[in-house]
């Protein structure tokens, strides 16, 4: 659906994107990760036909961003990192404005606006001024706006930035719903745990260079992040730790609170040997919990902790 090949963007001496190559399949939810100034927004602007690359090619749905910008604009919904709103319009007028801008037939507008307001839970705020909405609601309105012309591709630049925890959860659920609707989504965020839950693939970019792009599983593999298991023993935590440290399948064994936390080697997928070994030595197991791998760990490993 989205193809970027050797795209470079320079602002004077600054290289914002350095030969970026990326492929995102149809229906994929792609999490774009990187520190501030890494080139995430620049990539999105190129795809939204707002910025021309210094060199390289990019296409959306097989259409060239340089030559077929008009068709691409109808295919995409772009939400910038800072949502500049028309403060003198109501929510309804704001959405009508963009529906008209996308030449949506007048008779269909009402139905479409009702639909997106319902989806974003803004029906109650329909006649309120956009500027009077809270930050979270404005972000949701931003999502409603990008959906007004039913685009196949959504480019969402930091949609959850500045939101409180409740609004973040709402935003995440909304994006999951959009993913289930079959939209191709590129979403950038600093909150990595959220991307972990809703993205099927990720890309990590730093200083204009793409460090990684692929599925989450690939990311964990490449980052050498093995499975983690927390084990609670009735007594003899130190002895249990020493025992597991001897096993070469365990990469790292630590004690967190009263749990023995075992980090397995990346290629090790089974965990039953831990139980067998401990029980064989007479330990009484009180708890055995597989811990989620963290995207933060992947990010730090892949960027080698050098992110500024």
């Amino acid at each position: 659906m989205i193809d970027i090949r050797d795209v470079t963007v320079r602002y004077g001496s600054l290289v914002a994107l350095d030969k970026l190559t990326l492929h995102i399949a149809r229906g994929e939810a792609f999490g774009y990760i990187g520190p501030n100034g890494a080139g995430k927004s620049t990539t999105m602007k190129i795809l939204a036909c707002l910025l021309r690359a210094t060199s390289g090619e990019a296409s959306v749905g097989g259409l060239d961003v340089r030559k077929e910008a008009e068709q691409i604009r109808r295919m995409i919904g772009y939400m910038p990192d800072f949502l500049g709103v028309y403060d003198d319009l109501t929510v309804d007028e704001y959405l009508q404005f963009f529906a008209a801008a996308f030449s949506t037939p007048r008779r269909e507008r009402r139905k479409l606006i009702d639909g997106v307001l319902d989806l974003t839970d803004l029906t109650e705020k329909r006649h309120e001024l956009v500027d009077g909405l809270s930050r979270g609601m404005q972000q949701r309105l931003g999502i409603a706006r990008v959906l007004i012309h039913d685009p196949a591709v959504l480019l969402l630049d930091e949609p959850a930035s500045g939101l409180d925890p409740r609004a973040r959860i709402e935003m995440r659920e909304l994006l999951l719903e959009l993913r289930n609707m079959g939209k191709t989504i590129i979403v950038s965020s600093h909150i990595l745990s959220e991307l972990h839950e809703m993205c099927s693939s990720i890309g990590i970019i730093e200083r204009g260079r793409l460090l990684f792009a692929g599925t989450l599983e690939d990311a964990f593999m490449q980052a050498d992040v093995g499975r983690r298991v927390a084990i609670r023993v009735e007594s003899g935590v130190d002895r249990a730790m020493a025992l597991l440290q001897e096993d070469e399948r365990c990469a790292e064994v630590t004690v967190e609170k009263s749990d023995v936390v075992v980090q397995l080697h990346p290629d090790e997928r089974s965990v039953h040997f831990l139980l067998e070994r401990l029980m064989g030595q007479g330990f009484h197991i009180e708890g055995f919990t597989a811990r989620e791998e963290k995207l933060e760990d992947v990010f730090l490993r892949l960027t080698q902790g050098k992110v500024q």
């Binding site: 772009y78 709103v85 109501t90 329909r126 001024l129």
Partner: protein, 613 residues
């Protein structure tokens, strides 16, 4: 509770003393952290140096022109005495022209420099952050005012050596030069303080500029109008009032100063030095008081903005300390047209919130009604002066409003960071630009409509020639299309709305005011040695495209004197010839304006990689 009691509660004695001591300390109030921050920011902008350089070049250019003229004159003149005599004739005029250009330009520059001072803080939502600092509101207002006036002081200081240089050829006395500089500084500071006051409770800088221009017009026009009214009923009292309170109108003081500098005798015995001093003191005192009032309002606005109140909406000022949110719930959504950009532009108010529209509307209506009532009372509907005054006042007002009406349309979207969203739609560049342009024309239509109706009404009743309707229409068409078209171009080309407004106002100033004056000066310098510039086609064209000049000519010839021909730009022009001239000038100006619109369209298309149509 007594007043002292309330004061003590609001501000404990120790705190009050500290506040007063801090306030009277200029280092604290004027040159505090805000001043330093503004100066640091300004020093990083290339535009700051660009403006100063441009100004210096213009001033040096004028003086160089004069010097060149004297050199050429020296080569051609028969005797040295004749040459010196000629220089002495021109030098005072040149100094006065520079002084007047400087006065008008810097009086306009004051509001341009300060109009965005607080508006920008609102747009960036930094006011609540400022409210949490120990900075006093006076520090914010006067710090911003002082930093911006620094530029004006520099520009005035720049011209003083040039004016003093002209003294070599017999220019103005040093005392007169200082008086010009002081009046210019005072006027600019007063205008800037009015603008900063309005910027406290407006969201948009261009609204601030327009309202400041109207207010300044009223402030400067009120004293002479009052003296005039008093003179009608009590002639002696009117003269007395003028002598005692004439300093309240700085342009009038400048006119008297100019007359005296040119050696013209004035019928009244005036102490001009005292008048100038009082005028300068009045302007700086007024600016100080306005600044204090603005500071008081700013504190409330800062707290109110933090509480959700929005400037320019609902009530003019927050009603409680914490402010309150606008009554959005009572609003009903309107129906958006198929041309959304045009719809939005036609629904944008020119003056911001509803209350200010009403206030300004009522003041203007009352003033206009008073003029009409007075003219009707004395039966002077066929008086040229009446029609010329109405036409010139409303035309100048229209030109100022047109200069800023379209400059924000793209640049402000860039400022508010909503442009990317608009450009992500498939709207073509032409649809965006034309929507913005027609919307801009719609917004500025009120004053031309009034002037047009005035002409139609008086033509219908036989006071004006019927052809005047067409002539006024042509003048308005050309000037409006030109000024708004260029404004739109600047809006696309400039990074911020303020820069675009400044660029367009400066263009308008040079096109309508400075160029004819400079041309006249050029004629005065060269008329004896070069070709007859005054009678050249260039001169005719320069005047024919000047709306103020032409509207005076139109109204001059509009009174039903069927045998008298029009005088401008050709002498003894027939009605048909005059109408033809106006048509040509309207086409030329409209063409230039539409060129600006086309430039804006192409530039936007190129910037955003979209199709033109």
């Amino acid at each position: 509770m007594s007043r002292i009691g309330i004061l003590t509660r609001l501000c404990p004695p120790g705190s009050l003393r500290r506040s007063v001591v801090k306030f009277v300390n200029p280092l604290h109030t004027f040159f505090g952290p805000i001043f330093q921050k503004e100066m640091a920011t300004m020093s990083r902008r290339r535009g700051t140096y660009g403006i100063r350089l441009l100004y210096a070049l213009i001033m040096v250019g004028i003086v160089s022109l004069f010097y060149l003229g004297t050199v050429v004159e020296g080569a051609f003149s028969s005797s040295a005495a004749e040459s010196i005599q000629e220089r002495a004739r021109i030098a005072p005029t040149l100094a006065i022209v520079i002084g007047w250009i400087q006065f008008i330009l810097l009086t306009l520059a004051g509001p341009l420099l300060t109009a965005n001072a607080i508006c920008d803080e609102k747009t960036r939502r930094t006011l609540p952050s400022l409210a949490t600092t120990p900075l006093h509101a006076t520090q914010i207002i006067f710090g911003k005012l002082a930093s911006r006036m620094y530029t004006v002081v520099l520009l005035v200081a720049l011209s003083i050596p040039l004016l003093l240089f002209l003294r070599v050829y017999g220019g103005l006395q040093a005392q007169v030069i200082v008086a010009f500089a002081a009046l210019t500084l005072g006027s600019s500071t007063l205008a800037a303080s009015i603008a900063i006051m309005y910027s406290v409770w407006h969201r948009r800088p261009w609204s601030v500029i327009i309202i400041t221009a109207l207010t300044l017009g009223l402030v400067y026009a009120a004293p002479p109008v009052t003296f005039g009214i008093i003179s009608i009923y009590w002639p002696g009292a009117g003269m007395f009032a003028f002598m005692e309170a004439g300093f309240l109108c700085p342009p009038m003081v400048l006119i008297i100063l100019t007359a005296q500098a040119q050696g013209e005798s004035f019928p009244l015995q005036l102490d001009l030095d005292l008048m100038v001093t009082l005028s300068v003191v009045y302007m700086f005192t007024a600016a100080l008081l306005i600044g204090i009032f603005a500071s008081f309002m700013l504190r409330r606005v800062m707290l109110a903005e933090a509480g959700g109140w929005k400037a320019g909406r609902g009530s003019p000022m927050p009603t409680s300390r914490g402010g309150r949110k606008s009554k959005a719930g009572r609003r009903r959504s309107r129906h958006v047209w198929d041309a959304p950009v045009l719809w939005r532009e036609t629904h944008q108010p020119l003056f911001g919130g509803g209350w200010s529209r009403w206030v300004i509307g009522i003041i203007v209506l009352l003033a206009v009604a008073a003029i009409y009532a007075r003219v009707a009372w004395v039966g002077a509907f066929d008086d040229q002066a009446f029609h010329i005054t109405i036409a010139v006042i409303f035309l100048i007002l229209h030109l100022i409003i047109s200069s800023v009406a379209t400059t924000h349309v793209i640049a402000a979207e860039r400022d508010a960071r909503s442009l990317d969203v608009l450009l992500a739609t498939p709207l073509s560049a032409t649809r965006i630009i034309m929507g913005k342009y027609i919307g801009g024309l719609w917004r500025v239509g009120l004053i031309p409509a009034f002037l047009f109706l005035h002409t139609i009404a008086f033509a219908m009743f036989g006071y004006l020639r019927p052809a005047t309707v067409y002539q006024v229409g042509m003048i308005l068409l050309g000037a409006t299309v030109f000024q708004t078209g260029l404004g739109l171009f600047f809006s696309v080309a400039c990074r911020s709305a303020m820069r675009a407004s400044i660029a367009n106002l400066v263009t308008g100033f040079f096109a309508w005011i400075a160029t004819p004056i400079l041309f006249a000066l050029l004629v005065a310098i060269t008329d004896r040695f070069f070709w007859d510039l005054e009678e050249s086609l260039f001169a005719k064209l320069l005047l024919a495209v000047n709306p103020v000049w032409m509207v005076v000519g139109t109204m001059d010839g509009a009174i039903s004197r069927s045998t008298q021909p029009y005088e401008y730009p050709f002498e003894d022009a027939s009605i048909i010839g005059y109408c033809a001239w106006l048509t040509i000038s309207a086409f030329l100006l409209s063409g230039a304006g539409l060129l600006g619109v086309s430039g804006a369209t192409l530039r936007l298309a190129r910037q955003s990689g979209r199709v033109v149509f």
